[in-house]
Symmetry: C2
Subunit: 406 residues, 2 copies
C-alpha cells in the first residue's frame, strides 16, 4: 500500500514532447512496457546517472552520446529487463534499439538515448522490442504522460508523475516529469528512472546546472533500502519551445524555472519513497546543528538505513533507543550525547542525550502511528543541516523482494 | 530458527573462574537475568567496546576502570535493560551495582566491571539487582557456563558458548567463552556481549594483544543487520592459573593460546550470526583480489548489508544481479566489471563482469537452497582479501524487531 500516493491524472503536456507507449512483451505480454519520448529539434538534454561500478549498458550508451554532445531527439525506455551485467553485447543491444528508433524518426543513432529497468543479467529481447517501435511511434501524443508513467513501472504499485506551470518574463513555462522505482533506491544517484521535461528555453549550461541542483534537492534525499541500482538515470529535457530567447543561469527567470523543476523532482522523489517496497509510513528525517552538511547527511542516512529503526517505525513503536543507536553509529567524530536532541514531529524525546523529562510513551506513539511524520535530530555542534525521506520496513518489503523473480 | 546451532553442553570449566546466575526480575520475573563472574586474584583482563557515540553507561564505567589499571576481580552482567542513554544517573547506577558486588566479594568497587544489555533509555532497577547479588554469589560455581550463557540472553533463541583445550610447554590451557546477541550486530566492534576466559598466564600486554587480534578475526567479521549497539563489549580474562611463568607475545606458547582464543571467539561470532534475528541461512562472504584488505572488506560488507541480497537469499533465489549491484555500490574507486568474478560455493556465476557461459539457474539455486553456503567474489585487481559472516533477511526479522517492545 503506497503512502498517500495516487495516480497522477493532471499531468500537463509540454510543448515539444510527445510520448508513445507500446507493448513489447519484454518480460511477459499483457502490458505496455516500452516508451518512446520524442523531443522537438533544438531540445537541450542533460542527465545524471548511477555511481554503481556495474553501470548498466544503457547508462554507458547515454554517457557516451551525451559526452559527444549529440542533439538528443528521443528517449527510448523499457521496463522488465535492466540490460545490466550484459557486457559488450548489452551495449550493442541498447545501441541497436536506439538506432532503430533513430531510423523511424529520421535522426542519427547518437541522438536517441536508451534506458532500461528490470531484471539484471539477461539480454534484452531485441527482436520483440524492434517490432514494437512502430507501435510506439504511432502512439506518440503530447497528452500521454499518465500512460507513459505506467509503461515504465516495474514493482511500482502507482504510476508517478508531477507537473508545475510557472510564469516567467517570457510567458508561462511548463514542467512535467515521470519516474519509476520503489526499491534499490539510494541517494547516490537516486531513483531508478526519472524524466523531467520543460518547454523552457534553457541554455545547455543552464540545463546541466538545473539537473544537478534539482537532483541534489530531490532524488539524492530519497532512500528506500540503501541499495543503489545499476541503472539509475535522471534526465532533464528542455525543449526550448517557450519564449523567444535563451535563459542562462544568470537570467532572473532561471531561478523561477529551476524552482519548478526542483518541485517536480521532489514530488517524484517523494512518490518513490511513498511507494517504497512494502512502505506503510512516509518518514522525513531532519538533522540540524551539524558542523557541515555532510555530517548532517551522514546522521540522517544512518537513521534512514537502520533496519532496526525501520522495523520499529513499521510497528508504530516510538523506540527512540534505536534512533539514538543510529545517530551514535553514524561515525561523527567527537559527537557527544550531551549535545544531542531528538524529537518526533513536535514531541521532544531526547535532550542532552537523555530522555526529555516531559516525554511519555503515549506522546511518541501518537506521532509514529501517523502515516507521515518527522524524526528531528539536533547535533548541537554547528548550524548545517540535511533532510532525507524514507519509509518503514515491513513484512511486505521482504515478501516483494523475496518473490521478485518467481 | 537458528541455523545449525545447539545449546553448548560441553563448556569446560576454567581454573580461576566461577559463575553465579541469579534472578533479578529486571525486565520481568521468571528467568535468570543477572550473572556474576568471579575471577581469581591476579587475573589479567582486557576489553574492546562499541564505537557508537552513544556508548552505554556500563561501557563508560568499564573504560574508566580498565584505563585506571584496576586489577579486575569480577564482572556483573544483566539482561533486560541496556542502561544506555541514561546519562550520569546511569553511570551512577552501574557503579552502584559494581560497588555492591565488590563489597560482597571483599574487593574495591573499581575491580568490578559492569555490563548491561536490553532495552535502551530506561534506568536500571537497581534495588532489585542489589537484592539479587547475594543469590548470584551463593550460586557461584566453576561448572555453570551453560547456565551463565542463558542468563545473558535477550532475544537470543539459543545460548552461545564454546571451549577449546590446547597443550603448551607449561601444560594444558583451557579457553571457554560465552556470548549473547542476535540483532544490532555490526563489525565495528562486534557482538553485544562476549566474555572469553582462559587459565593461561598471559601477561597484561599479551592479554591486550590477544583480544585485539581475536576480535579482528571473529566478532568484527560478523554482521546481522549492520546496526551497532550502544553496549557492545568483548572481554578477555586470563586467570593465570595454568603454568608457572608469564607468557608474553614473543613466547612460542602465545601463538597456541591466541589460536585457541581466536577459535572460541570465531565460534561465538558465528553462533551470533547463526542465531541472527529471523535467520534461515548462514552465509560466508569471501572477497579476494582486492588492492588492500579495507577494499575487500568494504565489498564484503556491502553484500552482507544489502537488504536486496539478504531477502533474495531468504527466498533461496540465486539473484546474482543483486550481488553484482552490491559489489558495484561498495564505492571501490576505479573498479571495472570486466575484472570481477562471482561464485556461489564452487559454482561460477560471473566472470569478467558477465554471466559465466556454463552458469545455469539450477546450479545457483541448488547452492542457495542450502542452509550454509559461500558467496565468493574476486575483484581481479590485487591480492588482499576479507571474509565476513552474515545471515539472510526474513519475515521473522521484521516480526522480531517490530514486536520487540510490545
Amino acid at each position: 500500500m503506497p503512502v498517500n500516493l495516487h495516480f497522477p491524472n493532471n499531468l500537463l503536456p509540454v510543448a515539444g514532447v510527445r510520448l508513445g507507449p507500446a507493448e513489447a512483451a519484454i518480460k511477459k505480454p499483457g502490458r505496455k512496457d516500452l516508451l518512446l519520448i520524442e523531443l522537438a529539434a533544438g531540445s537541450r538534454v542533460a542527465g545524471v546517472f548511477t555511481q554503481n561500478s556495474f553501470a548498466a549498458a544503457p547508462v554507458t550508451v547515454c554517457r557516451e552520446y551525451l559526452a559527444a554532445g549529440a542533439a538528443i531527439r528521443a528517449l527510448v525506455i523499457n521496463a522488465g529487463n535492466a540490460n545490466a551485467a550484459t557486457g559488450n553485447a548489452g551495449v550493442a543491444d541498447a545501441k541497436a534499439i536506439g538506432a532503430a528508433v533513430a531510423q523511424s524518426l529520421g535522426c542519427e543513432a547518437t541522438q536517441v538515448l536508451p534506458f532500461s529497468t528490470g531484471v539484471i543479467g539477461q539480454r534484452l529481447p531485441v527482436a520483440r522490442m524492434l517490432a514494437a517501435i512502430p507501435q510506439a511511434q504511432a502512439n506518440l501524443r503530447a497528452e500521454s504522460w499518465g500512460e507513459a508513467a505506467q509503461a515504465i513501472m516495474t514493482t511500482d504499485t502507482v504510476a508517478k508523475g508531477a507537473s508545475r506551470r510557472v510564469n516567467t518574463a517570457q510567458g508561462p513555462v511548463t514542467v512535467t516529469g515521470i519516474a519509476k522505482g520503489v526499491g534499490m533506491i539510494h541517494p547516490d544517484m537516486a531513483t531508478l528512472l526519472a524524466f523531467v521535461c520543460t518547454d523552457a528555453r534553457l541554455t545547455p549550461a543552464a540545463t546541466q546546472a538545473a539537473i544537478k541542483q534539482a537532483a541534489a534537492e530531490s532524488f539524492n534525499c530519497a532512500t528506500v533500502d540503501g541499495d543503489t541500482s545499476t541503472n539509475d538515470s535522471f534526465v532533464l529535457c528542455a525543449t526550448a519551445q517557450a519564449g523567444t530567447r535563451d535563459i542562462d543561469i544568470a537570467d532572473a527567470d532561471y531561478a523561477t524555472i529551476l524552482a519548478a523543476i526542483t518541485d517536480v523532482s521532489i514530488e517524484l522523489a517523494q512518490a518513490i519513497v511513498r511507494d517504497g517496497e512494502g512502505a506503510t509510513k512516509f518518514i522525513t528525517i531532519e538533522v540540524g546543528g551539524a558542523r557541515d552538511a555532510a555530517e548532517a547527511r551522514k546522521v540522517a542516512l544512518s537513521i534512514a538505513h537502520s533496519p532496526l529503526v525501520k522495523t520499529a517505525m513499521f510497528a508504530s513503536d516510538a523506540n527512540w533507543g534505536r534512533i539514538v543507536m543510529a545517530i551514535g553509529k553514524a561515525g561523527v567524530d567527537g559527537l557527544h550525547p550531551s549535545t544531542v536532541s531528538v524529537a518526533l514531529d513536535a514531541v521532544p524525546l531526547i535532550e542532552g542525550g537523555e530522555p526529555h523529562p516531559a516525554y511519555r510513551e503515549e506522546l511518541g506513539a501518537a506521532v509514529v502511528a501517523q502515516s507521515e511524520f518527522s524524526i528531528r535530530v539536533g547535533l548541537g555542534r554547528g548550524t548545517a543541516q540535511a533532510r532525507v525521506w524514507t519509509c518503514d520496513f515491513s513484512y511486505d518489503y521482504v515478501k516483494i523482494n523475496a518473490e521478485y523473480r518467481t
